[in-house]
């Protein structure tokens, strides 16, 4: 658990990060909170020769409103997500999710940008971002581009991010007022990644579900947006038969690994149970 040797850089602008990445090539990695990267370096699963620390770049911090969107800077920590009044008002599901990530010490360091860029299916934010239909703002030598969270993940640690790009911010459309939400996560203990987790956003019109979006964490190589499961709920009264259909549709797209959290069949079933419970909570919160 001793990392290899590396050079350390601490630039103060996005432009200089991009220039450094272009110059140093594949052997360079951005460093955000280090809560995933340093652990990988200690076990030598990652051995970057150059570490580019993003923490001194002011433009990567902060949460703000921009018209109908909320923009969250990549270096915003999970602790800041929990404390944000703006998010509490528009996107309380981000707070609910952040609170079940790791433990308070890790949340002081770990960032939203690191969490979504990491590409580890165990991270909770990616499935939530897919559920919210967020998009990531990427900056590279050719300038800026935006990629939808639902199109960002190709496989474990394999994303649309190029080696010479960074995530600068995450853009999320404000959900309608009165929406129902729930993030339900099964884990073995504080500080553990999900055995399975589900993010649910719904809107209701009286007793009828008018929209539903579902994300699943850690039950495949990538986060999953359970499109068919969401569709199965729209237009229904969220009765048992429709829920069972949605759960079956969600379970059908999972492909979890068997690990110390349990065998694959268990984790698939837990994705279903987490979805049920998240949905129940979302329903109880929705008023439309």
């Amino acid at each position: 658990m001793i990392p290899g040797t590396f050079e350390y850089y601490r630039p103060d602008s996005v432009a200089s990060v991009v220039a450094l990445l272009a110059k140093l090539g594949d052997d360079a990695r951005p460093l955000a909170g280090g809560q995933s990267l340093i652990a990988m370096m200690k076990t030598r699963l990652a051995s970057p020769e150059h570490l580019i620390d993003l923490s001194a770049i002011a433009e990567l911090h902060g949460i703000r409103e921009q018209g109908n969107d909320i923009i969250i800077g990549a270096m915003t920590t999970q602790h800041e997500l929990i404390a944000s009044e703006l998010l509490a008002k528009y996107l309380p599901i981000i707070r609910e999710t952040s609170l079940v990530i790791a433990d308070p010490q890790i949340r002081y360091k770990g960032t939203l940008g690191g969490n979504v860029a990491n590409g580890d299916p165990g991270n909770d934010m990616p499935a939530l971002m897919q559920c919210l239909d967020a998009s990531y703002q990427l900056v590279g030598p050719k300038g800026e581009r935006e990629v939808a969270a639902r199109a960002f993940y190709n496989g474990a640690y394999d994303t649309a991010l190029q080696a010479d790009e960074i995530v600068s911010a995450v853009r999320i459309g404000k959900p309608v007022a009165g929406h129902g939400y729930g993030y339900e996560k099964l884990k073995r203990k504080i500080g553990d990644y999900a055995t399975a987790a589900a993010a649910v956003m719904i809107t209701m019109s009286v007793a009828t579900c008018t929209s539903a979006s579902i994300g699943l964490t850690n039950v495949s190589e990538t986060p999953l947006w359970a499109e068919a499961a969401g569709k199965a709920l729209v237009g229904t009264q969220l009765d048992e038969a429709s829920i069972a259909k949605a759960v079956a549709a969600a379970e059908a797209i999972t492909n979890p690994a068997s690990d110390m959290r349990g065998p694959a069949e268990y984790r698939t079933k837990m994705a279903g149970i987490m979805l049920r419970r998240a949905l129940e909570r979302a329903k109880s919160r929705a008023h439309g």
């Binding site: 658990m1 099964l186 553990d192 110390m260 959290r261 349990g262 149970i273």
Partner: protein, 809 residues
């Protein structure tokens, strides 16, 4: 209550000042621990010190074709790379284990478990050492491996230990197969078999106490510093038994014992993991002798979990024979013990299966027979007593699960079955069928107090209602009530049956009163967090009337401390605690002579009064211990040698037998398999209580580790011998959030043979806790005829039980 006289009040005040036995004295060591001022091995920085790191095997079983160190040696900063070829000429490529086997220090021809030590790189800093391990080129030829101990002795099983393949008699008798280590038998086989053949009721269950690890927060580490001029070696290390390490180092290195200085500074937890000797210790010593500079070795977390001593891995086929009315007549147990690649169990040498023969538990079982077969597999070696006396958690798990299985079979309440079979108070000292003499106990009183406090009858009613509701589909939760009534056996031990490599298992205390009446005392034991500096001082305070705050306790430096066998198996209080009391009494006897001289009376005219000797009938004529101390040095009686000190090497006449009654209430979510502990009540009887607060702390810690073991902690291997989850991400170490709330209670049944009646408590809660949790889980599913559910009871395994029983929609 009688009115207190001024004399009573004065005496009470003087007693309180002492902070002696029975008082909740705050732990003095916590002042430094809570401020980050502890002094651990890794804090040590010596001039010129260099660092070692291991090249480890990726294979569980493989032949080593070649080792090429050229690239590693070429890396700037690398000083040396040791392999078996370097150690062999010194006779150090193997080292003796505590169990009479040998263990590879660096693998010579074969590797036998994943992460086994293959080469030791020494470099000028820790990072370079780590880099260089990746540059040692080892060519392996993979071999078929054995992970399942039930396959070790198959006729066509691959032979693991080629180094001893022709040695068909091991340290504990004949070996039946090249992968067999020993067979150990005790009890009356024929009588037991006869009772089973005719019994009205029998039960038989294969109970697995799965492989886990003691996982102290501080990993194993050492710093060796060899002075070539003086020919002296100083070795700092994480040693639960520093004196034994010194003797072993002397025996294997050939250095005279007085030229070896072994020092165990503060230790960050041991739980049995730090009893044995490890390759890292040996390599740091060899490195320092060869290079003439200090060599530091510090294990990382993965190395600790995957290579240093594991615990358990006992596969216990457990049988009881009883009458229809639930009177147990006989017990028969066969254990298949998976010892891994080398037999490096840390047991007293004559006890290859530890004290597994305490498995008749708290019950009057007249006839019993136990067989233990130890086998080799391609896993790390160990089998240490993880927060328990030797194999006692295993033994208690066997009997405490078995009585529940029996109770269920005959349809009797599990508490009632226990009450019916307990050894009765008047039967003590009790001779068990498997050879122990239980010193004292009052099991019925403890059990009834526990049942009343927890409200046992009401809990059973609630459970019945919940079960009915579950069957009507109104709840998805199952309620389990766990019981365990354990008897520990601690304080090894009497030299007639206990030794380690021929060293008898006494322990020691040396107490010296300074002229001004303060004290330094040194013991042969070594605290790893148990609070010895606090509690030994309390014993001395009560015995000698000097305030505990004026007493310094020192352990761990083999140059100054008297020889002792160290701390594990809850032996510190039973053995060194006894030595402390006896040494104090020697001092007191001399003090009485001095006081008599000072007061010009006959010794027999004096009586002890808290902190002084006073003349009988004349309470105003007295000399305090403090005054006596001054006099002892400066004006002793004629013909008496000056000074006031004593040493005692205590040979315990018997073990001590702490016991307790534990209850657990658990609620299990059938759909996820998540189990929540609603209540846990622990009544402990550890004899005389030295410091109730420390006892409570020990009980909390022991229960937390029991909770961990029962509910998820494990060292698992896949079928190719890869060790799974050897990090704190997967290895279950509960945090404050997962840990249940503990309710503690006690009864007091002193040990009749111990000078202060104390029995030891540090390990009882672990021993009693593991079966209590497992019984709660098993009880939750019992009405669904689930059969025995193996540990660990983590969520996915309990969910699987639900699947098997068809409980999921």
């Amino acid at each position: 209550m009688n009115k207190q006289t001024p004399i009573d009040i004065d005496r009470a005040e003087r007693t309180e000042k002492l902070q002696g036995m029975g008082c909740k004295r705050k732990r003095v060591e916590d002042i430094r621990f809570t401020q980050g001022k502890g002094n651990y091995v890794d804090d040590l920085k010596l001039p010129g010190m260099v660092f070692g790191d291991f090249v480890r095997s990726p294979h569980a079983h493989a032949r080593i074709v070649s080792i090429d160190t050229t690239r590693a040696k070429a890396l700037p900063g690398v000083i040396a790379v040791l392999t078996a070829a370097d150690l062999k000429p010194l006779g150090l490529h193997y080292m003796p284990t505590l169990a009479g086997d040998v263990q590879a220090v660096l693998a010579e021809e074969k590797v036998l478990f994943q992460n086994q030590e293959v080469a030791f790189v020494i470099a000028k800093d820790r990072y370079i050492a780590s880099d260089a391990t990746e540059l040692v080129d080892v060519v392996y030829e993979a071999l078929p491996c054995i992970v399942d101990p039930f396959k070790s002795m198959l006729p066509d099983a691959p032979v693991l230990r080629e180094d001893i393949k022709d040695k068909m008699v091991g340290a504990h008798g004949p070996r039946k197969h090249p992968n067999h280590i020993f067979e150990w038998q005790i009890g009356d086989k024929d009588a037991t078999d006869a009772i089973f053949a005719n019994a009205e009721v029998t039960i038989k269950e294969m109970l697995v106490d799965h492989r886990t690890h003691p996982s102290p927060l501080e990993t194993c580490q050492s710093v060796a510093s060899f002075d070539k001029i003086k020919g002296e070696l100083t070795l700092w290390g994480t040693f639960q038994a520093p004196h034994v390490i010194r003797t072993v180092v002397s025996l294997i290195s050939g250095l005279p014992e007085h030229k070896i200085h072994v020092i165990a500074p503060d230790i960050g937890g041991g739980f049995g993991n730090k009893v044995g000797a490890y390759a890292g210790y040996v390599c740091s010593v060899v490195g320092s002798i060869v290079l003439g500079v200090p060599v530091k070795w510090v294990e990382d977390r993965m190395e600790n979990l995957s290579t240093t001593s594991f615990a358990r891995d006992y596969h216990m086929t457990t049988e009881l024979a009883a009458t229809k009315e639930g009177k147990i007549l006989a017990m028969r147990v066969h254990v298949l013990a998976d010892h891994g690649a080398f037999d490096a169990c840390a047991d007293p040498s004559k006890w290859p299966a530890g004290f597994m023969n305490i498995c008749t538990g708290s019950y009057d079982i007249p006839t019993a027979h136990l067989v233990v077969d130890g086998v080799y597999t391609n896993k790390a070696s160990g089998g240490v007593a993880y927060r328990c006396s030797f194999r006692v958690t295993e033994a208690v798990f066997a009997i405490e699960r078995a009585v529940e299985v029996l109770a269920q079979k005959i349809g009797m309440d599990a508490a009632e079955l226990r009450l019916k079979n307990f050894i009765k108070a008047e039967q003590f000292p009790y001779h068990s069928a498997l050879g122990w003499e239980y010193d004292s106990g009052d099991y019925h009183t403890a059990m009834k107090k526990a049942m009343d406090t927890i409200g046992y009858a009401e809990l059973r009613k609630e459970q019945a209602a919940k079960r009915a509701a579950f069957q009507r589909g109104e709840t998805r939760e199952l309620m389990g009530i766990g019981i365990s009534f354990f008897t520990e056996i601690v304080g090894a031990g009497p030299s007639k049956n206990c030794d380690i490599l021929g060293i008898a298992m006494f322990d020691s205390a040396e107490i010296r009163i300074h002229p001004t009446g303060s004290i330094i005392a040194r013991m042969g034991t070594k605290s790893q967090g148990q609070g010895h500096e606090t509690t030994y001082a309390q014993i001395i305070a009560t015995e000698l009337g000097i305030p505990a705050d004026d007493i310094m306790i020192e352990e761990g430096n083999t140059d100054t401390a008297p020889y002792g066998l160290g701390t594990y198996g809850s032996r510190s209080t039973p053995v060194a605690g006894a030595a402390t009391a006896v040494a104090a009494r020697k001092i007191k006897a001399k003090a009485q002579m001095i006081a008599a001289h000072m007061l010009e009376v006959h010794e027999g005219d004096l009586e002890w009064d808290v902190d002084r000797f006073r003349v009988k009938g004349l309470p105003e004529k007295f000399k305090t211990m403090k005054e006596i101390a001054w006099s002892a040095y400066n004006s002793p009686p004629p013909n008496m040698e000056p000074g006031l000190e004593a040493v005692n090497y205590y040979e315990p006449p018997n073990m001590t037998y702490p016991f307790g009654a534990y209850f657990c209430v658990m609620d299990i979510d059938v759909d996820t398999g998540v189990a929540k502990t609603r209540r846990f009540y622990a009544l402990d009887d550890c004899g005389t209580r030295i410091n109730p607060m420390i006892i409570e702390g020990q009980v909390h810690g022991g229960l937390t580790e029991a909770f961990a073991c029962a509910m998820g902690q494990e060292i698992r291997y896949d079928e190719t011998g890869n060790v799974m989850g050897a990090s704190f991400m997967d290895f279950f170490l509960p945090t404050a959030v997962e840990t249940p709330h503990w309710e503690t209670d006690f009864t007091v049944t002193p040990s009749p043979h111990h000078p202060i009646g104390a029995k030891g408590v540090g390990e009882s809660p672990h021993v009693g806790g593991v079966p209590c949790f497992s019984n709660a889980v098993n009880d939750a599913y019992a009405f669904l005829n689930a059969g025995h559910i193996q540990m660990p009871h983590d969520a996915w395994r309990l969910w699987k039980v639900g699947e098997r029983l068809g409980l999921h929609k």
